[in-house]
Structures are given as structure tokens and as C-alpha cells.
């Protein structure tokens, strides 16, 4: 079956971005192809219904931002802030992504098959992120809840000032950020990584990952400092 024939095509060479986004937001179901994205910003943002959207090319900034329930696939790369503040649903990127991927995302699953650059999962609030490649500096900065699985390496200051998010990295970690420490890779951790890899469609051995999280030694973790 040729999926392209059954999907509704929205061609940015012919339609305005506003029209494309309005069509996607209005749809309560269905499958859509966004053609000729050519790095356009803010594609497929704020979707609230379980539609399936495939961006056939490279997306610009904030692709699939604020997503709820929709399933958005970018066949190329995505720019800054892909799936930022996602609430639910799934965002998959075949290529690499720029900075702040999944920033502040509350829920849902973000899968990046290539690399993610700096600040991936910054201020993560509950979403799950799986990166097939490596992540840049300051990833997981102040991440509060949720999980990030990195199949490659992590850059400087991983998990700086992290709260309760769980970070898993298979490769090297250039340095840990303030108050981030390596944790035991227990059975629950192995199961969590196995589940996320399976849902991401990435073949890797969960036992090869290391887990990182908060040492809970920063100022705000001391009860004497609470008021």
C-alpha cells in the first residue's frame, strides 16, 4: 500500500504555512503529509487531536511544539525547540535536531534518530526523549521529571541542577553538571530503557547504558532552606 496516496497532501509550495497549520489543527483524525517544508518554522504546532502528520523534508524551529495526542514525524532534520512543551503524543525525527529539543515537555514521546545539539531536554517536565545519536552540552539542564535515553555520547554538564528526571547514556559523558551523579542501573532502570528503546524502534542493549540523576545536594534540596 502506498501511504502517500492515502494521506492528505498539504504542499507549502502552494499553501501558506498558516493555512497548513490551521488545517492540521482543525482535523480531528486523519493522516497528512506536509510537502516542501524547506526548513519552515512552527510547523504542526499545537495539535490537539490524534492526527498523523508526516513532514516530508527538513523542519525549522519549534516543529510540533505544544503537541497533544498527535503523532508527528519529520523525515529530515528539525531546528531549535522541536516538540517543545509537548503534552502528549509522539514526535519522531529521522535526522538530527538543533538546540533545546523537547524543552519543558510535560508528556509524550520524542524520538530523534540522529544527534541532538545543546540543551536537549532542558527543563524536562515529564516527557520521554530517546536520542539515537549523541546530545550536546547542558542536556537535561534542570530537568524536573521524565526520562531521557541517549544512545550515543553526552556533552559537557549533563543534567546540571537536575531534579527528578532520569537520564540514561550509553556512550561517554564529557562531564556531569552540578549536582548530577551516576546512579545504579537497577532492574527497574533496565526495564525502563528496554521499553523506551522498543517504543522508539531503536535496537540497543539496555545493559550497556549508564544512569544519571540528581544527587539532591543543591540548596533547594535542604529542608532548612525551605520557607
Amino acid at each position: 500500500m502506498n501511504q502517500r496516496l492515502t494521506n492528505t497532501a498539504l504542499d507549502l509550495a502552494a499553501l501558506s504555512k498558516r493555512a497548513v497549520n490551521a488545517t492540521l489543527r482543525a482535523a480531528e483524525a486523519g493522516r497528512f503529509d506536509v510537502l516542501n517544508p524547506n526548513g519552515a518554522h512552527n510547523l504542526a504546532c499545537g495539535l490537539e487531536h490524534p492526527v498523523e502528520v508526516t513532514i516530508r523534508g527538513h523542519a525549522g524551529y519549534y516543529a510540533a511544539g505544544m503537541n497533544q495526542r498527535a503523532s508527528v514525524t519529520v523525515e529530515g532534520n528539525a531546528g531549535t525547540g522541536v516538540a517543545e512543551n509537548m503534552m502528549s503524543g509522539t514526535v519522531r525525527v529521522a535526522g538530527g535536531v538543533s538546540q533545546s529539543a523537547g524543552a519543558t515537555a510535560h508528556g509524550g514521546l520524542l524520538v530523534v534518530h540522529g544527534d541532538a545539539s545543546a540543551r536537549c531536554g532542558i527543563s524536562l517536565k515529564g516527557a520521554e526523549i530517546v536520542v539515537g545519536g549523541s546530545v550536546g552540552a547542558m542536556s537535561g539542564f534542570m530537568a524536573q521529571a521524565g526520562t531521557m535515553v541517549v544512545c550515543g555520547d553526552a556533552g559537557e554538564a549533563l543534567g546540571d541542577s537536575i531534579y527528578e528526571a532520569r537520564l540514561y547514556v550509553r556512550g561517554s559523558v564529557k562531564s556531569l553538571g552540578a549536582d548530577c551523579e551516576e546512579k545504579e542501573m537497577d532492574q527497574a532502570s533496565l526495564a525502563e530503557v528496554a521499553d523506551l528503546l522498543a517504543r522508539a524502534g531503536i535496537d540497543a542493549d539496555p545493559a550497556t547504558f549508564r544512569r544519571y540523576g540528581s544527587a539532591r545536594r543543591l540548596y533547594n534540596f535542604h529542608v532548612d532552606d525551605a520557607w
Binding site: N38, G39, H58, G60, G96, S98, Q99, A118
Partner: protein, 298 residues
């Protein structure tokens, strides 16, 4: 904000399209910098030095200025005006010509000096600036462009990018520096001459000064990481290529792409999407604090 682009050809096949493709790239960056725009085109290497000059008063007599410069240098000089710019060709020491103009002709700003570089810039819609200075018809090996959203100094033609302080060297900048005033004084004491209050001009002057003292381009870029305080993504044009440098925090965007025929950088992928063969390009984001350079002498 600000938008920056760079395009370098790895062979001669696209030389005739340099201006057209650079204009397409820069057009995509209009939204990032609607204040003003500028570009540097590296065309065929000429036997003599050429300086691109900007008339800041609207009253420059180019022939008279050429005569004064010629008399001072003891070398032939000829000016070819284009709107408020002129290309001054000097059959003599170009560095001396630049210095003489800065010290003796306050009515002009020296935009570039070299044997292949020509810099043009203007205030207003980037498309109009490109049209005014005929970017689309220009040919050559590589080009650097900039659309400006001013933050650190006034919106003027002289304050637009690219900045060029060394022969066939120029720089465009997205970001802002915080130690440029002190650095300008230090560089001035060392003989560097600046023509604006702009922070990016100081970065251009810093690199030019290091390379004049013997640094390679990549050594100068590494020195810049140690010395410059602030936010920056730079694209730097040199006689035979271009380089890209981002500060260690790298909050100013950059994307690069390469095919068998060209290497390109831009603030955003939109500009790269217009290039021929982009569907087969390797595309990546340059890492923070890591110099990238292309060219025969890179």
C-alpha cells in the same frame, strides 16, 4: 537576532551563480534582520589592490579623492562609484591606502580591502540592498552575507556587516560582545584602526590583528574563543575560503551543509534549502567552541 550566510564553491562549476545563490540565501534571512544588510563577494583575483569605500556625507567627489590618495601614495588610484559606494583601485600598497583614507578622509568609511573581496552594505530591506548593489549578477568563488537586527550600536550603513579590517578578510556576526570597548582600546594601542562603535568590528579587528602577527586562521579563531566575551556565531571570509565559529554556549544558531560542489552555512536551514543539490547534502550543526574552515589554505 541577525541572519548570517556563507557560501563557498569547491569547484568552478557554479562560479557564475555565486551572486544569485547568495541573494536567495540572504532573502530567506530577511526576517532575522530587517534593519540593514550587507555582503562580501570574493570575485576573480585582481592584480592590484581594491578598496570599497562608503560615502558617509553624500558629498564625496570620488575623482578628487582618488587624486588626493594617488598623490599621497605616489601610486595611481581610480574610483568607480556605485550609489553611495565606490571601488577604489590602487596600483600600490593597499594597506597604506586604507590607513591613509581612515586618517585623512573622514567623509568615507573603508568597507573592504583586498585583491578579490568587495563589500557592499546598506540600511533598509535586505532585498533592496542586494538589488541596489547588483548582488545577483556577481560571480566568484565565495560570499558572506548578513541581515541585521541591531542591538549594540546604531542602525547605519557603516554599522552594517560584513566588517573587514584585514586584506581579503571579513566577518559577519550574530550575537553581541560584552568586552568590545576594552578590547577596542587594546587593539587601537596596537595599531588597529576602527571606524565604528560596533562590537562586531572589534571581533573582525581582533582576528585581522592576530593573523597579521602570524596566526593562522584557525589559531586566530582559537584565540578569539579565549579573548571575546559574549554571544557569537561568526562567519569569516578569507581570500580563499570561509570559516565558522560559535561561542561555547552557542545560543546563536548555525547550520552547515556540504555537497561535492559547495559548503554553506546559515543561521537557519531555510537559506540552505534554496541551494542546488541540497537534497544530497550532508547537513549538521557546528559544535560550540570549535573552529570550522574551508578553503585551499584552511
Amino acid at each position: 537576532m541577525c541572519g548570517i550566510v556563507g557560501l563557498y564553491f569547491k569547484n568552478d562549476g557554479l562560479a557564475e551563480d555565486l551572486g544569485r545563490l547568495t541573494a536567495l540565501m540572504l532573502h530567506e534571512m530577511r526576517g532575522r534582520g530587517p534593519d540593514s544588510a550587507g555582503f562580501a563577494v570574493y570575485g576573480a583575483r585582481e592584480a592590484t589592490a581594491k578598496l570599497v569605500l562608503l560615502d558617509t556625507t553624500g558629498a564625496v567627489d570620488w575623482a578628487a579623492l582618488a587624486a588626493r590618495l594617488s598623490a599621497a601614495l605616489g601610486a595611481p588610484a581610480e574610483a568607480a562609484p556605485l550609489h553611495d559606494h565606490a571601488v577604489m583601485r590602487v596600483d600600490g600598497d593597499g594597506v597604506a591606502a586604507r590607513r591613509w583614507l581612515i586618517e585623512n578622509a573622514p567623509e568615507v568609511t573603508v568597507l573592504s580591502l583586498g585583491q578579490s573581496i568587495e563589500v557592499y552594505k546598506g540600511v533598509g530591506d535586505p532585498d533592496a540592498v542586494m538589488e541596489r548593489f547588483g548582488l545577483r549578477a556577481r560571480t566568484g568563488t565565495h560570499a558572506i552575507g548578513h541581515t541585521r537586527m541591531a542591538t549594540e550600536s546604531a542602525v547605519t550603513t557603516a554599522g552594517s556587516h560584513p566588517f573587514s579590517t584585514g586584506a581579503d578578510t571579513c566577518l559577519v556576526h550574530n550575537g553581541s560582545l560584552s568586552n568590545h570597548n576594552r578590547l577596542r582600546r587594546v587593539l587601537h594601542a596596537g595599531g588597529e584602526r576602527f571606524q565604528t562603535e560596533n562590537d562586531s568590528e572589534v571581533a573582525a579587528g581582533f582576528l585581522a590583528s592576530r593573523m597579521r602577527e602570524g596566526d593562522t586562521l584557525s589559531a586566530a579563531l582559537r584565540a578569539a574563543l579565549q579573548t571575546l566575551d559574549g554571544f557569537f556565531t561568526f562567519a569569516i571570509g578569507t581570500a580563499d575560503g570561509f570559516a565558522v565559529l560559535r561561542d561555547p554556549i552557542a545560543c546563536k544558531p548555525a547550520v552547515m551543509a556540504e555537497t561535492d560542489d559547495w559548503v554553506a552555512m546559515s543561521s537557519e536551514f531555510r537559506s540552505i534549502a534554496v541551494l542546488p543539490g541540497v537534497e544530497h547534502a550532508a547537513i549538521w550543526e557546528p559544535a560550540p567552541a570549535e573552529p570550522y574552515s574551508w578553503g585551499k589554505a584552511a
